[in-house]
Every structure is written in structure tokens, then in C-alpha cells.
Amino acid sequence: MPERPEFTVVGKGERKVDGRALVTGKPVFVADVRLPDTLHVKLLGSPHAHARILSIDTSEAEAMPGVVCVLTHENTPPTRHTTAGQGYPEPSPYDARMFEDKVRFVGDRVAAVAAETEEIALAALKAIRVEYEELEPVLSIDDARRDGAPVIHDEEDSAGIYDADRNVVADVDIDVGDVSAGFDASDVIVETTCETQYAQHAPIEPHVVYSYLDNNGRLVLRTSTQVPFHARRIVAQTLGIPIRSVRVIKPRIGGGFGTKQEVLLEDVAGLVTLRTGRPAWVGLSRKEEFVASRTRHPMRVRVRLGAGSDGVLRAIEMEAVSNTGAYGAHGLTVLANAGSKTLPLYNKAPNVRFYGQAVYTNLPVAGAYRGYGATQGYFPLETAMDELAERLGIDPIELRRRNHVRVGETSPIFEKLGEGREGVEQTIKSCELERCLEIGAERIGWAEKRGKKLRDGPRVHGLGMTIVMQGSGIPRIDMAAATIKMNEDGSFNLLIGATDLGTGSDTILAQIAAEVLAVPLDRILVTSSDTDLTPFDVGAYASSTTYVSGTAVQRAAEKVRGQILEVASAVLGASAESLRLADESVVAPGGERMSLADVCLRAMYESDQFQIAATASCVPAESPPPFLANFAEVAVDTETGRVEVLHYVAAVDCGVAINPILAEGQMEGAIVNGIGYALTEEMLISSRGRVRNPSLFDYKIPGALDVPRLEVILVESYEPTGPMGAKSIGEVGINGPIPTIANAIYDAVGVRLRETPFTPERVLAAMREVTVA
């Protein structure tokens, strides 16, 4: 491993730069600031899963006192676009309109009312008369692909749909080598098909947007978004206005996890403000957050593994069918990620095939969700590896050792499969999986407890393990930029497009700048995510911020350092190359110092004045994966089927951790979210396509009583292409729990679960082989 330099600010668990405001309840979220004449906007959702709107009569609603504006398909731009917050040109179909004369899921937008108060808006919604022609709904993947199935997107003007007539949004088929031959040459073949459920991000702050016209009549959107720049572009496109006429600001937001990588409400808020001249506020209720925002893609994924008796994989086949819901946002890319972020992990397999489709259904719209397809792909992959280990009589850890990618190696999948299109070739330059496996196994007590089926009362204990990876941004596509300008007290403004969802990116990016400029963290003043003030950044997704935005910050800081040294060299009488930065000063070889404050005073006021400042960008050439080894001990109640995770160990290599506390926090949050996804979270859909449990009362996410003894161990490596040696870490943690817990259940009670969530009823049924109603 390359030498890891000594850092001063990087590598420290510094307090978050926005922490004080958050812990004292300052009004820093979208909903906390409102001008006096703000209009309340409420949305009318469709009661039907699939229907045409034959007529819509808003006259009674419009006549109600206090109603200022009513929007329907009849008076809004018909521009087809995607709501997916992705780089242009977006790899998602343009299949959505602001409002349309067709509805495609229960809760789909029918109309919007802007009124003086929320009560009036809600009353006005009830007064809107809609005549629907109900159409046969498509309520499952199999229904969607049936011959003669109703066509969900039968409109003329959509674009980018693979085969609309068969409800197929996307189709992917890549192969390496020859899988048939590979299986023929295998001594053991294992196959498993796993299904994952509809799950929702449930951020504690639902989607919310606040729009207003600034003093110059320009539209400003203060929005809870992960993608301010994509939001600006897509709103401009949807409303048919120039990009320069929109400003998007992301203040503090209450969690995203992917559901806010979407341009969901900004168009409605923006149009209301443009039409009325007044500020408008649109916020989803918790019920709407479940029904009408975004969800995880439910998937059915089949994995077939062929290996020699030596345990080395000869062939891997993965077939995925993804339910993308009523609109195709992220449909192609999540599907592709089920393979692109999983298969390269086992690069020893010379023959690989990944193929599958994403299909439309008349169900809630799936979108981006932490893990982004990899989570769904790892379930069957790591379960099949566990089965393979058993068939071969090899310890599961050892089987991973014989097959996982190592430093200096590559996988043909990197090149073949990217974000929906071809990917980018890359060679692994940092990977501490071996140490992760070693440390994790020791902490969980693998040798002592695995296979022992230890009992306590009616419960049996079991151990499971998995390895997983993700990426660090989207190579050659993601771009991030940063601007740094200096102030005459030796402080710096750091302007970044990068989007802090609570992840702490403002803090770690400031730490990177502080490290390069040799100043304490509080000398870096962060402004982020304002399309007028900060340079471009794709936003917070694909685990890009630390790696991509971090590199942009590092480059900008290095440019600024160069300018500082030039200014100082004239005063210190030494060449710029010979100078270095330390402790808020420029230091010459002989020990003479000039403070940063003095440098800037000189540059700002005294001699050859100029603003010390620089902008730098980063387009990554590769996407170095963080690697993670997961170990779990579960207790299965043999009488009730209830699974409790007792102990979960995650040993993760994310390169150098810029801020270890924040890195751990990302892992802990992702793991607990993954445990909920594995055990208790499930959106239940009725036979008419309605979500039956759209509340936190009925959709159970983990609380403080449900968290196991959770150990996250940062096993540092040094990624030479990353800023300060860092890789990203935002998503990878969520990929572990489902298959790790499934493997642990198998160790405990000898049943393989292939359908999430592993509710007590399902587990008991599997143990008893009783049909579950």
C-alpha cells in the first residue's frame, strides 16, 4: 500500500460545520422560512391505477374564495421530460409530463391548487370534478410482460423507451466470454432467484419546495433536493424557460437517500409562482411521501454460478427484471447497476453474462435509492456464493478469498456495463478486503460460533457473511467543480455545487481544502448548492461527492496555494517552488514566515493587486470501489420465526477516511436502513394498486430499540486517484444486510430465504414449509 501521508485536518473527526445550527433548531430547512403572502399548493392524486381523464372541471374550485391558481393538463406545458436528476442527456426516458390526460398509478398527479391557506387548497381539491375512463391496470412484472398486456405508455411523444408496446423501459444484455461453456466446464453449479420488495426511503423530512420571484423578477426555488443543477435544467426544460431565468438553492435538507435525486415538485411550485407572481410552497404529506414520491425498484434477480472444485468461479449469469413503476426515471441505470456494481467483485470468473429488463407497471414510481440496484443484485449473488461454499465444502470466507478482485486487477464488466451504457475500464488500485475479512471474522467470532447453532430458549443463533462493493461516482460522466477565494484574514470561501444531504460533505470538502491550504477547519467558509453562487456539481448520488467533488476541491486549493506562494515569493525573496504552507503561513527554506493574512492583504490592497482565487473541476477517469466485508450474528425464534440481529460487524475500505466519524456515520445509517429493508419494511399494495400502509405507523423502519450491537471498522487503504487517498462511502453499507442476514438465518435454522423482507411469518413458513397466504 502506498505511503499514507500525515494529515493535520483530514483524518480527524471534526465537528460538522453546520452542526451548531442543526442542534439548536435554527430555521435552516426549506419549510422554516416563509414570506407573508405565500400560497399553499396541494396536489390532487389519481384514485385509479390506470385511467384516462376524459374531462376535468375546475370551475367550482377556481371560484372558491382564496383559491388563486388551479393547474391541470389543460393549462400547463405538455413537455415530455424525465424527473430523474441525472446528467444531460439523461439515460432515462422522457415519459413524464407536468400533468397529463392519463394517470398511471394511484396517486399520480391530476391537478394542483394554489390557495391562501392549506385548508382552502384541500377543500378546492375536493371540488375538482374529474371524469375517468378506467383502464385495466398492470400490477406486476409478469402482468407487464404478458402478451396483450395494457400499454402503460401509449403516448406518441415519449422518447427513450426501449419497447413501449411491451411496457419495457430498458433492456440490457452484455456478456464476456461464453457462459454456456463456462457452466459446462464447472464442477458445481448453483442457481437461485431472489425477489426484493417495494421499500421507501422514508426521509424524516418529506419532499418540499418553496418558490418565489426575487426582486428582479427571477424565479428562485428553495428546494429539498440532491440535484440542484439538474433541477434547474429540468425545470427550465419543463416550463419552457431559459436556464438563466431560474435559480435553485438547496438549504439544509432532512435526508434524501435517493428519493430527492428527482425533480418532483419544483415544476409545480415554479409555475404557480410564475403565473401568480407570489411565493408558493409545495410539501408532501407523509402519506404522499409514501405513495407519490419515489421508491426502491422491486426486482426479481436470478443468479447462476458455476465453479470448479477448487472454488474458483468459471461462470456467472445474472438475469434481472426490475419493476420501475409508472414512469421510467432511473429504470435503465438501476437495472444496469444490479450487474455493474456486483459482478466485477468476482473478476476470477472468465465467463459472465448480465441481462435483464426494466418494466413499467401501474404502481408507485421507483427511482434512485441508496445502493441503486447493487443492493438488489447482491441478494442472490451472495446467497448463491454461500450455497456454493456449502456444496464445495469450502468456508464461505475462503470462497470469497479465492474469487474477489485484487489490487492491480481489472474486470471486463467495468468496461462493458456502466450507467446504462458502456462503462469505463479500470484497474483496482486500492483494496483491503483481505484485512476486512480477517478483522470482521475475528470480531464476530466466526470460528467460535459459525455452524454451532447455539441455543437460547426457543432461539437458535447463526452467523452469516458477505462481501460487497459499490463505486465512487460515474467515470467520464460526473463532473464536479469548486471555487476558492481568499479573504484578507487568511480565511477562504469555498464555493461548491456539491450537495450535503446531512452526509457531511460540506465538512469533509472543507477539511480537504483546509489540509491543502494548511489552515484549521474554521478558516474555510462553505457555501454550497446554489446555482447562482456555486460552480457546477452533478449532485449527491452515485457515491460521488468525496471522490469527485473532493478532487475538484483539492485541485482548486492547489491552484490557490500556487497563487499564494507566488505572492509570498516576492516578499520572502525565495522561489515559489521552494516555499511551503504550514500553520496558516508561508514558510521559506530558511525559516522566514509570512502569514496568510499578510499575503492576502498584499494581494488585495498593496501590490499587483488581484483576487487570490481559483476554480477547478474534476471528471473522474475511473470509479474506485469501496470494499466491505459484512458479518452478522442473528437469533431466530423457532416458534415465531422472528429474526433478531444481535451483532453486525462491517469492516470497510473506503481509502483514507477524510472524517472518520462521518464515514462511520454513513456506514451505520446505511446498515440500519438495510436491516429494515431486510426484516420489516414492505410497502403493501392492494389488488387495485393502492398502497395499503402509507404511514410510519404501518411501514416499520428501525428505531433505537431495533439496532443491533453494530461495529463499523474503517480499514484504511490509500487510493492514489482519490483526494488525499479517499474513496467514497455513501452507499456501500446498505448492500450488506439482506444477504448477510439471509446467510446467517441459513446457518441458524437451515432455510434459505429468497424473498424480502424476512418477516417472522415468512421465516416460520420457510421453516415449516407452510404456504403463506
Binding site: G13, T24, I204, G669
Partner: protein, 158 residues
């Protein structure tokens, strides 16, 4: 109708709608530390101290708070000095997006005011009504332990 209540030590008179909730009244009065996550008592983001006890303010009729003492997260700071629970949350990394934080802090303050030496189990139970999607609760539990230790030590510094 008109009610009078004390919010963070200050007597306030407010005109309310009959069915209005305390959470909405508090936000109307400018206390944005009271967050709205569900309006159903399921998430705890709106927690405040009502006559010394942590409750979901979205489940309380504003009228019921007539004559009561309410403390929101904004009321925990004393002359620019944070409450030990707040300091501990900052030091332990118990804050990510911060949306659940005010409610979490209120629940922790309530716990420590009547149980200065809680076990981990008691801390988990005290926080069980505050949902968080970002942190996985690990550092928040540790923050409460840290705050308890600091408060027992007699200081207000973490």
C-alpha cells in the same frame, strides 16, 4: 380563542384555531426547531417539553397548552452556551441531516433530567419514539452516554 403559555421562559399570548395543534402554534410563533415529519406522532421530530415532559407536540391540542410551560430545542441554550446534550451530539457525530435532532435532543434532556445514570437499554428506550433515517442511532446513543457523564461530572462542558 386565546391562550397564554410560557415558551422557553417567555410568556406568550396567542390566538388559536379550535383544533390547532401545539406543533403548528409553535412554528407559527417562530420556533422552527419544532420539525414536522408525519403529523401523526410516529416520528418524534416535533418533540418538545410540556411541563417538563417530552411529548409529540403534533399530538397536543394547542388549547391544552394553555397555562403550560413549553421548552423547545431553542430554549436549551443558556447565554450562548449549549446544553451538554447538544455538545455531546456535536462531538459524537450524532447529527447528520439534523431533521430529527431537535426531537432527539429533547427526549434525551427529558431522560437525563429524571435518570442521570441511564443504562444503554434505558437510553434506547428513551429515544425509541424518535425515528432517524440517517445515523442508525449508534452515535446518538453514545452522545447521550457522553452527556450523562458530563452532567454527572458537574460541568456543562462535554
Amino acid at each position: 380563542m386565546t391562550i397564554t403559555l410560557t415558551i422557553n421562559g417567555r410568556r406568550t399570548t396567542a390566538t388559536i384555531e379550535p383544533g390547532e395543534r401545539l406543533s403548528d402554534l409553535l412554528r407559527r410563533e417562530g420556533f422552527m426547531g419544532v420539525k414536522i415529519g408525519c403529523r401523526a406522532g410516529d416520528c418524534g421530530a416535533c418533540a418538545v417539553l410540556l411541563d417538563g415532559r417530552a411529548v409529540n407536540s403534533c399530538l397536543v391540542f394547542a388549547a391544552k397548552a394553555d397555562g403550560a410551560e413549553v421548552v423547545t430545542v431553542e430554549g436549551l441554550e443558556r447565554e450562548g452556551r449549549l446544553h451538554p446534550v447538544q455538545e455531546a451530539f456535536l462531538d459524537e457525530g450524532g447529527i447528520q441531516c439534523g431533521y430529527c435532532t431537535p426531537g432527539m435532543v429533547i427526549s434525551a434532556v427529558d431522560l437525563l433530567s429524571r435518570n442521570p445514570d441511564p443504562t444503554e437499554g434505558e437510553i434506547r428506550r428513551a429515544l425509541s419514539g424518535n425515528l432517524c433515517r440517517c445515523t442508525g442511532y449508534v452515535k446518538q446513543i453514545r452522545a447521550v452516554q457522553r452527556a450523562a457523564a458530563a452532567m454527572k461530572g458537574g460541568g456543562t462542558d462535554a
